[in-house]
């Protein structure tokens, strides 16, 4: 019983930490710091998944944790760092919404997911309940990052933090088969590759990775 409540507290802390780091992403206004926060996000995810692997006694989850650590915390941030340097866009991010309203919106989203998840999953395992509520918050905050940024790199980051939320949800539930985790991990990798190529394409064509260049190309005014 003692062990169980400790396990619960630690996983609760890690998942809560993930939500907190998602909030940190919301107010980063430089690309480098956003990438650093994303790396931290991935590290915490890896820890959380590893802890789940330990308490659920599911060794295959360690693989997921390793994937999260290696790819999301190291490879992708480093690669994005290099892209940002190559593109020469390590200056301010112009976010579409100012920080204050964004943070308020983020809080509202977290409140929404808490209310919803705790009510919908009333008779589920409490550990899974908390995890799912946090995971939904992370997903919604990732979407919020994507919506409030204009820069393609930060939209990629928002998308990947959203995927982190999905992985958190997938590992929080007991008995999730490995196939799904690998597919989730690969989908992120593929998304990264595709969007990376896409970035270079935009850059080649328009000398900018600001997606508004696409709108200008289509002859539109925002």
């Amino acid at each position: 019983m003692q062990m169980h409540s400790l396990a619960f507290d630690i996983s609760h802390t890690l998942a809560g930490g993930l939500v907190l780091i998602s909030f940190m992403m919301l107010y980063q206004d430089r690309l480098y710091s956003l990438l650093n926060v994303f790396a931290l996000h991935a590290v915490v995810l890896a820890l959380s998944v590893a802890w789940q692997a330990y308490i659920q006694d599911a060794p295959h989850l360690y693989i997921t944790a390793a994937i999260a650590l290696v790819f999301k915390a190291i490879v992708i941030p480093v690669a994005l760092h290099r892209i940002v340097k190559q593109l020469g866009i390590h200056r301010d991010i112009e976010s579409a919404l100012s920080i204050g309203p964004t943070m308020l919106a983020g809080m509202a989203l977290v409140a929404l997911s808490m209310v919803l998840m705790l009510r919908v999953t009333a008779d589920a395992d409490p550990l899974a309940r908390e995890d799912l509520a946090f995971a939904l918050s992370v997903v919604l905050l990732g979407l919020l990052v994507m919506v409030t940024r204009r820069n393609a790199v930060s939209q990629v980051v928002g998308f990947m933090s959203l995927e982190n939320g999905l992985v958190l949800a997938a590992t929080g539930a007991k008995g999730m088969p490995l196939v799904v985790e690998i597919s989730v991990a690969f989908s992120i990798l593929i998304a990264f590759i595709v969007i990376g190529i896409f970035l270079f394409r935009i850059r080649e064509r328009f000398d900018s990775v600001d997606v508004s260049a696409l709108d200008d190309y289509r002859g539109e005014r925002r």
């Binding site: 919803l116 994507m146 204009r150 539109e220």
Partner: protein
């Protein structure tokens, strides 16, 4: 070989012929080969269905093929009702193939018709044989698509593309209604086999909804007013032998679907259902024939007349529902037999008339009656068989149209026996509508035959017309002979239909084979009876005597005098009665309210040399009042939604985000 296997092999044969047509496409022999093969397979299927219907109709046989939904398979079943409709389909198929042997050679692009013609026949056969909702809908769609391809065969001709589009829209709408109807019938257990649906109880609420949906689904295919709009566009657009199939046969397949669901699957009907069917049938009959009277395009006129006949059949079915709901088995069997008899008759004479229109089209290149005329001298044989068709469709004895309509009016006369006052009043009113429709139909076909075949030719094309080929003529003569046979031997047909009424309604008409002199007595001989054979003998003998008397006591010589030109010295053929002028009295009486018809005379001032002109303005109120507003609303909302095409990427993301959050909020509030 069990009967259902025989029928399914014929369907497989037809599908094989469709593939063969693709392989042979472009060869000169393709037309002959394909139509010969289709005719042969149709004849086999026809023979099989007739043998089943008159032989062992009580032993329905089924077949389950391991295709389609894995847990359901594809069920097919041949029972008495199905075999009767297979007879209609395959008789139409065989005669259309025979006709196509000649007519198909005039087709500029046969490769657009040949593959779809057998496929269309196969589709109609499959719909009739299907025994679960899934196969039924699949085959129904196959039939619709094959016929759509045939409508679009001459897609470059003006108007055909629009016809195809309207047909496609109406067909998908009809299938949607059928889908919902079967969904309701299967209920929460979701067993789509017809046997399970038949066994399950249905609440009156479900039954009413299913009836409404079937009126939409089957009614839109059959051409019930106001769902008929595609029919006069699409039927004439196809090649004539396909028009004959669509008008004479495919509408019957729709009626089969209606009978199968409403009479067979739903079980015991309730009387308010019959009021709806009766009302729609009566309105459809009158509206259809009024539209036809206003028409001057020969094939469109025939398509509108199909709508009238569909109305007659639906009204009979409504009568059968009314009697069946009150447990009056004999009267229900009478009305139901009248409906089925009319289905058979209409497939005979409507195919015949469409073949005739096709023959006129081949000979003159014209469908506009105002450019025809005088064809009786140039195409005597075609004129004769078309005259037979016109007499039969006008319900004149001794032909078949009279028998079925007479049976229907006998059923109308049983209405005082109905306990509900609503029906007691409604049925005679519908009977009056049907009588009006029958009279107007006679006027319509006097116009169609008179303007097309009598008088003097109105165009050089009509003047130089020649008789058509012998295949077309033999197809038409076979149908004309069948019209006469069914008219003078109606007892045989009624007795052959008895297994169906026993199957579906649990009752039957009295056995007619025992009646003396081949007469028929629907209820009892003391009430009413009819003898087609005696009527024909009387007509033949009296006509022969008058011909003899005239030729014996008057003159042998055939005299040709100048046509009387109403006092004008040099009457041109254009001064004859035209299609519009023949219909003018009826347009004055009915058209002002039904079509808001108005005549505008443009009379030049004295001394002005330009001609005076008469312009007739007709409004299709169904199209203008129902379809145009719907089309307008769809267009308007699409224009509004079109703006969503041009948002920025971030706005699309925001839209997704907003939708997600809204849905989550809804869930949070309501759960």
């Amino acid at each position: 070989m069990s009967p259902v296997v025989l029928q399914m092999s014929c369907v497989a044969g037809l599908l094989g012929i469709a593939v063969l047509a693709i392989i042979l496409s472009g060869r000169k022999t393709a037309t002959t080969t394909i139509y010969c093969a289709t005719a042969a397979v149709s004849c086999v299927a026809l023979f099989g269905s007739v043998r089943f219907l008159v032989g062992d109709a009580a032993n329905a046989s089924g077949l389950i093929l391991p295709i389609g939904l894995p847990w359901l398979g594809a069920h097919f079943r041949l029972d008495a009702l199905a075999s009767f409709f297979l007879l209609v389909v395959n008789l139409g198929g065989a005669s259309a193939s025979l006709y196509g042997l000649g007519y198909g050679h005039h087709d500029p692009a046969p490769q657009r018709v040949l593959p779809f013609f057998p496929a269309f026949l196969a589709g109609m056969n499959l719909v009739v044989l299907a025994d679960d909702a899934f196969s039924y809908l699949l085959c129904w769609e196959f039939m619709s698509l094959a016929s759509w391809a045939l409508v679009m065969a001459h897609h470059r001709e003006p108007g055909n593309a629009k016809a195809g589009y309207v047909y496609l829209v109406m067909a998908s709408f009809g299938t949607l209604a059928l889908l919902l109807a079967f969904g309701l019938l299967a209920g929460p257990t979701g067993d789509y086999g017809f046997a399970a649906i038949r066994a399950a109880p249905h609440t009156p609420y479900v039954a009413t909804l299913v009836l409404i949906l079937m009126l939409f689904g089957a009614g839109s295919k059959a051409g019930l007013v106001p769902l008929h709009v595609w029919l006069p566009l699409a039927h004439p657009a196809a090649p004539s032998h396909v028009s004959a199939l669509m008008s004479g046969v495919m509408t019957k397949v729709a009626i089969y679907g209606f009978i199968r669901v409403i009479f067979d699957l739903l079980g015991q009907p309730i009387w308010p259902e019959s009021v709806v069917v009766l009302f729609l049938g009566g309105i459809t009959a009158v509206m259809g024939i009024l539209y036809a009277l206003m028409e001057k395009d020969l094939k469109r006129l025939l398509a509108y007349s199909t709508i009238e006949n569909i109305g007659v059949i639906f009204a009979s079915l409504g009568l059968a529902l009314a009697f069946q709901a009150n447990g009056q088995k004999l009267a229900a069997a009478l009305a139901f037999t009248a409906a089925l008899f009319h289905v058979l008759n209409h497939s005979f004479f409507k195919s015949l008339l469409f073949f005739g229109a096709g023959a006129v089209l081949t000979a003159t290149g014209e469908r506009d009656m105002d450019k025809l005329g005088g064809l009786i001298h140039r195409m005597p044989f075609t004129s004769f068989v078309v005259l037979v068709g016109c007499v039969a469709i006008s319900a004149l004895p001794p032909f078949n149209g009279f028998v079925s309509e007479w049976l229907m009016f006998q059923a109308v006369l049983q209405s005082p026996e109905l306990p509900q006052w609503a029906l007691k009043i409604m049925v005679p009113a519908v009977g009056a509508l049907l009588a009006l429709a029958a009279a107007l139909a006679a006027a319509c076909f006097v116009k169609a035959f008179g303007v097309t075949f009598l008088g003097r030719p109105r165009s050089p094309a009509a003047e130089t017309a020649h008789e058509v080929d012998r295949y077309s003529l033999s197809a038409m003569s076979i149908l004309a002979a069948l019209c006469l046979l069914a008219g003078i031997l109606p007892g045989l047909v009624i007795d052959a239909l008895a297994p169906i009424t026993i199957d579906i309604l649990g009752g039957r008409m009295p056995v007619q084979a025992n009646e003396a002199w081949l007469s028929i007595a629907p209820i009892a001989e003391s009430r009413s009876s009819y003898n087609g054979l005696l009527v024909m003998l009387f007509i033949t003998i009296s006509a022969s005597i008058s011909v003899f008397v005239i030729h014996r006591f008057a003159s042998h010589a055939v005299r040709r005098g100048p046509a009387w030109g109403c006092g004008f010295s040099d009457p041109t053929p254009a001064a004859q009665y035209s299609a519009a002028s023949f219909a003018q009295p009826i347009r004055r009486v009915f058209g002002t309210s039904v079509f808001r018809a108005s005549d505008h005379v443009d009379m030049p001032a004295p001394g002005d040399v330009r001609p005076a002109r008469l312009r007739i303005e007709l409004h299709d109120l169904v199209w203008e009042g129902l379809y145009r507003p719907i089309a307008g609303a769809v267009g308007f909302s699409s224009d509004r939604l079109n703006r969503l095409q041009f948002l920025t990427i971030r706005r699309y993301l925001s839209l997704v985000f907003a939708t997600l959050v809204t849905l989550l909020l809804v869930l949070a509030i309501w759960s």
